[in-house]
């Protein structure tokens, strides 16, 4: 077993036995290594720097696209760890040993790259250089190639340009421009090497923003709050369990509209509860199971695992219990989120937007 895996396991064991003594960052790191390391080399993740929101998106994509198993109580710690260690808000240290697992000697980088895709020696963006390059771009290129370098009627799309994609720090863009490519104010040959390098940083930065979808969810508050209230009380049958002035009082204050939308659709947390809104299911809302052996009393507890062959739970006193499933063993699962699951088949997108608008009013 690799040393690091042993360390991760030791860290976990320690965390389990003496939770209070282990700093949160060490616990988070261990969670990251254990969960993410199940499927891929950790360097894939740590080769890039991303914002908190981008790390959340990455993890959500892992779950939805790759079928990664990330439990509710693991999601937050992993995002915390990645943001703290591989964030791109300028405060985090550079990725340690970037590419260390695949081709040594590339050293640390404080720049921005597109992460685990593309060549190991891909252009690393220097943000200060990109800022300078933006001015060169605005003076020389923007009219034909557009604000975000995606081209227009008179200029090629630079984000998709093979010259740009092959470029490293101006080594392709420079010779290309010197061949006589027209610019607006300066004959191409007169752009200095430093200007070309800055221009290269800027275009690669735009490429990075495109690939890592710098944009996010725009606005989900488009519904009709009154219609949402009517749905809540009527067709949605929400008042069977919820009250606007009870458990949902102030819910619009506690969550962003995106999180309201995600949480009311997917409250069980099996979904990725949205940016900052994810977490364990509400207290007292765990899935439980009641197991009745042929002889002996029924046992009820929080469901741990249920498959065709065995069932396990944690009972009221915190004890772990497991049973082999047989025809004479009665197993009844109690899922408090069943109503929300059934709602997914019934609710229209209009209802959904209206309910979000209504919940937002519960300040």
């Amino acid at each position: 077993m690799p040393a690091r895996a042993i360390c991760a396991i030791l860290a976990l064991l320690t965390a389990a036995s003496a939770n209070a003594q282990v700093p949160a960052d060490a616990r988070n790191k261990a969670t990251f290594e254990r969960v993410c390391g199940t499927c891929h080399p950790l360097q894939i993740a740590t080769a890039s720097r991303r914002s908190r929101a981008q790390w959340q998106d990455t993890l959500e994509a892992m779950v939805s696209k790759q079928g990664a198993k990330i439990a509710d109580d693991e999601f937050g710690p992993i995002v915390d760890y990645l943001t703290a260690t591989y964030g791109n808000d300028g405060s985090a240290p550079g990725p340690a040993g970037r590419g260390g697992g695949r081709g040594a000697g590339r050293g640390e980088s404080r720049g921005i790259t597109a992460g685990g895709v593309g060549a190991d020696d891909k252009h690393v963006v220097d943000t200060a250089g990109a800022d300078r390059g933006r001015k060169v771009y605005a003076a020389e290129c923007i009219n034909c190639h557009g604000t975000h370098a995606r081209g227009g009627d008179n200029g090629a799309d630079l984000i998709r340009s093979v010259v740009v994609l092959h470029d490293r720090y101006g080594n392709e863009i420079g010779p290309f421009l010197r061949k006589g490519h027209p610019t607006q104010t300066t004959p191409p040959a007169n752009l200095t090497q430093a200007q070309i390098a800055d221009l290269s940083h800027f275009v690669h930065y735009e490429l990075y923003l495109t690939m890592r979808s710098a944009l996010d969810i725009q606005n989900v508050l488009t519904g009709d709050a009154k219609a949402g209230a009517a749905y809540f009380r009527g067709e949605g049958k929400c008042t069977g369990c919820h009250a606007a002035n009870g458990d949902l009082a102030g819910v619009g204050r506690r969550y962003t509209p995106v999180n309201l939308q995600q949480r009311f659709l997917f409250p069980q947390g099996g979904g990725r509860g949205g940016r900052g809104g994810r977490g364990a299911p509400p207290p007292g809302k765990a899935v439980t199971v009641t197991v009745t052996p042929p002889s002996g009393p029924a046992v009820t507890g929080v469901l741990v695992e249920l498959d065709d062959f065995n069932v396990s739970l944690r009972d009221g006193s915190g004890d772990y219990r497991s049973f082999k499933r047989t025809s004479s063993l009665k197993v009844v699962k109690n899922d408090p989120f069943v109503f929300h699951q059934e709602l997914l088949d019934r609710i229209t997108d209009k209802n959904m937007h209206d309910v979000v608008a209504y919940l937002e009013t519960l300040q």
Partner: protein, 535 residues
Amino acid sequence: MKSSRALAAAVLLTALCTALPGQGMLNPAKLGAPPTDTWPTYHGDYSGRRYSTLSKINAGNINSLSLAWVYRASTGPGPGGGFGGVRVSATPLEINGVLYFTVPDHVWAIDARTGRPIWHHQWQPKGGLYIGNRGVGAWGNWLYYETPDCNLVSLNMKDGSERWHKSICDLDLFYYGSVAPVVVKNHVITGVSGDDLDQPGYIESHDPETGDRQWRWYVVPQKMGEVGSDSWPNEEAMKHGGGMTWQPITYDPELNLIYVTTGNPQPVIAGKARAGDNLFTESIVALNPDTGKMAWYFQPSPHDTHDWDATQTPVLFDGEINGQKRKLVAQASRNGWFFVLDRATGKNIVTSEFVKTNWAKGTDAKGQPIPDPAKMPQLDGALVTPNQGGAANWPPPSFNPDTGLFYVNATRAFSVYYIYDPSDKPEGWGGNDRGGWGEGMLEAIDYKTGKIKWSHKWESGGGRSGLLSTAGKVLFAGDPSNNLVAVHTETGQPLWHANLGAPVTNGPMTYELDGTQYLVVAAGDTLYGFAMLGK
């Protein structure tokens, strides 16, 4: 004493002599034959059925199945692997008693009877995405596999030494290699992966001796005016329209057609600047393997905006439709729909939902679903099922000619799809889906009607694995609780299980050696060899 020792030595020698030719070349006649003592392609044969005629392991004796060996694939701390963990998604090939399998940048040969390692090859990479590798292709004495950094590599089966490598894609354009090459006649058929940045997908054929490229077929037309170009608004959008070819092909030697499945169009989620059906992305396409010329196409997801690559295995089988014998191809597609086509013509025979979906307004005259614009990604979100992971994904299904049933490990899941980039020319993804609740079930579909014959719901959601069914009336699948499960092919009744401590991560495969039937499956970084050792 002496004589018994001599006898033992003789027995050992005989054993060695029968074992030694083990690493000989692949008999060409085995390619495409029903997989019994040999499993020479990703799917075992060219049909993609993942059906074995072997029956020594069967519904009657499955509880006597033993664990014969375990092999843990460690890549060490060096290039390509690292200490993070390894996931075997490859289906091993089995040739002359040796298993060959991969993870990105690594290939192993191990003894198919014992799991004992024979050799380990490691590629020195220059980058690429390490999401998974489906395995090797084989021809004569040679193996072929793709690397994350866009190379097709040929190895000597005997010792894993490199014979040559050829670039098959441009790493700077964010392509990568993951698919298992399949050898058809004298063609090594390769595909490409990578949907980060609006590049065209393509299929290539390479000479198995030299590696030289024989032809390339682009998934998206390269010039306006070509067939399919009227499904794009302009050449810029079309030539950057995606359609990655990240799943192994299947092949009908009689028709001399290979069946290629293609991935999502680009930009992935924000489809504003690519109005139209976006051919030949999201399609099942029949190509001539000698020329790369297209014979026909069928498009499961016209104008996809949900990342529902239609790359699931195009499974070939012969069946009877309205009393007539037909050559068929079937796919349980990621978008939740099941299709049966005539594989000579591409004409649709059956279209049905294998899970309930909410994104289509019905089907058109060709049998293709019609996407509902309201369920395309929206600025304020659209609740869609299936989710991005899909109703099915890359794990291979199985078709069993004894039952006439098509088996798929299916998922019914919801998520909300959002447009992030409202501009007129979004690129890359331009949006994503988020959230989700889902349930998983093992389904048996009647190919004649598309109706679900039986469905075995897993107790928790999210299970995905490849499948294998056999003449022994057993269907092998991974469940969401890390179990390798055998169910009865006719009823779906669970018969046997083994908890492997990690989810099944590939498609199970089987072979018979010295009269013993083996079953091999991967869970995470470990291969498990089960066998009917009793008799």
